[in-house]
């Protein structure tokens, strides 16, 4: 929930200032429009959906261009050429290693050429050109993942499982925990052993492994619910923030508080009323019925 440090203005570009009134109305409109989908698909939801897609696309394009093209190519090359003209300083750092600036420029042009080759796929899907940068990307990615992931996710994780069941100075709860961990680990691994015919022992282990896996999935579902409810509560909290008198239409126009009327004229209440009215009206007039599928 927002803490109002100063009266909001109608329009404010300073991110550190109190959120502006127009922004408050937009936030409430889009939030309630999205939640209106819980009743049924409707024009308010469609509006929010389209605005979201448009804004997200614009923002992502801008950030990717800034990081991947502007800084990585134009700014980099401009700085490198400037360095080239300075007397006695012709070393540029590439990936933590010093390199002659002329060579660094050539390497960067090589990267640009590979990017352009990748785009050839847009015009000719069968062309050989995109295969070279793709092969390079896959190779680099595999190398990067293989070395670090093997250490972090395989070696370290296997090491984590090799704990003493009764460590020095352990409490009885700790020992029970270690036994449960050991039995659980063996049973779950047993569930994925397909090499041998399943006798009674392996089938029993497998059964216990399934129970442990189900408990794990239950825990994960619990965390997922926690996350989704947290999102809902945060939205409710945000809507509550904009139901403060400072955001009311009456306060904004007359500069005075009028009790319940003041609250009723705040963005969440006014917009919720508007959405409900439109949906009820659409229901009564039959306009909300979906169009019949084409014959």
């Amino acid at each position: 929930m927002l803490a109002l440090q100063a009266a909001p203005r109608w329009f404010e570009l300073d991110v550190a200032a109190t959120p502006d009134i127009i922004g408050g109305w937009l936030i409430c409109l889009l939030t309630l429009a999205v939640y209106s989908f819980l009743y049924k698909d409707n024009p308010f939801y469609k509006l929010a959906e389209h605005v979201f897609v448009g804004v997200a696309t614009a923002w992502y394009t801008m950030e990717f261009y800034d990081s991947g093209v502007l800084k990585a190519v134009f700014v980099y090359l401009s700085d490198a050429f400037q360095t080239l003209h300075e007397p006695g300083k012709h070393v540029t750092e590439v990936g933590g290693y010093g390199m002659p600036t002329a060579l660094a420029i050539a390497v960067r042009f090589g990267a640009v050429a590979l990017s352009v080759m990748l785009l050839v796929r847009l015009f000719n899907r069968q062309s050989w050109a995109p295969r070279w940068p793709l092969a390079l990307m896959i190779g680099i990615y595999a190398a990067l993942k293989l070395t670090a992931e093997t250490q972090a996710r395989l070696v370290s994780q296997v090491k984590e499982t090799m704990v003493p069941v009764v460590p020095e100075g352990a409490t009885w709860m700790g020992v029970v925990g270690n036994v449960v961990f050991l039995v659980g680990l063996v049973c779950v691994l047993g569930h994925f052993v397909f090499t041998f015919k399943r006798g009674k022992a392996l089938a029993g282990m497998s059964r216990a492994g399934i129970v442990i896996l189900m408990l794990t999935f239950g825990g994960m579902f619990g965390f997922t619910v926690l996350g989704r409810i947290a999102l809902l509560i945060e939205r409710v909290s945000e809507l509550a923030s904009y139901s403060e008198p400072a955001y009311s239409l009456s306060s904004a126009t007359a500069g005075a508080a009028h009790g319940w009327l003041d609250t009723a004229l705040t963005p969440p209440f006014l917009i919720a009323t508007l959405i409900v009215l439109v949906l009820v009206l659409a229901k009564l007039t039959g306009r909300a019925q979906p169009a019949p599928p084409p014959a």
């Binding site: 992502y60 990717f64 990081s67 994960m220 996350g227």
Partner: protein, 281 residues
């Protein structure tokens, strides 16, 4: 009698709405006991000597801001309070507006100077490859900052960070998914031995238990972890006390929403098994 199949699920949405809005309006707070994961997170920051450099990574977007923004801001408060220096990066394109908002509000409260006490490097495209290049050479990954577009070496703070993460005492990642903490662990933790602590969304929390305490020194799991951490940090930070109170208020709503879901699962199962028994009879 209504069966699970004929039951209109919009009644469930309505019930959830009533519980959440009603309890939120009641404004009752629910303080939580701190978990050892959160205490370890807090202690890792407390144990750092003043002046140490912390790499703070904002790996989230508006969709996960509800869970992660409070902890992100609390971490900045805590780091500044401990006189630690922050190098802020982002691996999600939609994170920079949150980082700018947070720093522009919090840094002046502690009289912190841009470029000396904190620096904003912004978003870097490339997912895992970007994380690898940050570890290899921060200077090569970010030749300029993102606020002023000034050269790397013009900042005293960045001059203290060498290649292969030299000078970085800790990585704090506030992570919503990919790329996030599970990618930072191999790229910075395993490769360069940088200690890592993290705050994550609820969905990303379960796998983290396997990495604690050797590969991750501590973590804040979802809104619950954020509230516990805020309780600890707000003791010495009056600016965070409203946020802590707000989060404690949300925790009570959260608990009752969970109770409603548990109740619905039980009722749904009872109706299902009763119906199945009747059909078999």
């Amino acid at each position: 009698m209504a069966t699970p199949r004929s039951f209109d699920r919009r009644w469930i949405f309505l019930a959830m709405g009533v519980v959440v809005v009603g309890l939120y309006a009641a404004g009752i707070r629910a303080p939580l006991p701190n978990s050892r994961y959160v205490e370890s997170f807090h202690k890792t920051i407390e144990d750092l000597p003043a002046g140490s450099i912390v790499l703070l990574s904002a790996d989230f977007d508006p969709a996960s801001a509800a869970e992660l923004e409070p902890m992100y801001k609390a971490v900045i408060h805590h780091l500044f309070q401990r006189n630690l220096r922050i190098v802020n990066v982002a691996t999600w394109p939609a994170a920079p507006p949150f980082t700018r908002d947070a720093f522009s509000r919090i840094a002046p409260q502690y009289h912190k100077q841009y470029g000396v006490d904190w620096v904003e490097l912004g978003f870097l495209v490339g997912d895992d490859v970007a994380l690898g290049s940050i570890g290899q050479s921060l200077r090569s990954a970010y030749p300029t900052d993102t606020l002023n577009h000034s050269a790397y070496d013009s900042f005293p703070l960045l001059r203290a960070v060498g290649d292969s993460c030299q000078g970085i005492a800790l990585l704090v990642t506030i992570s919503a998914g990919f790329p996030g903490v599970l990618e930072w662990i191999p790229q910075l933790g395993s490769r360069y031995g940088v200690p890592i602590i993290t705050g994550t969304t609820a969905v990303q929390t379960p796998p983290l238990f396997a990495y604690y305490p050797n590969q991750i020194k501590g973590f804040l799991g979802a809104a619950t972890g954020a509230t516990q951490y805020l309780q600890m940090v707000a003791e010495n930070t009056p600016e965070l006390q409203p946020t802590r109170d707000e989060n404690q208020k949300r925790m009570l709503v959260q608990s009752w929403a969970h109770m409603l879901i548990i109740g619905l699962i039980v009722v749904g199962n009872v109706i299902y098994f009763t119906g199945r028994r009747k059909a078999q009879a």
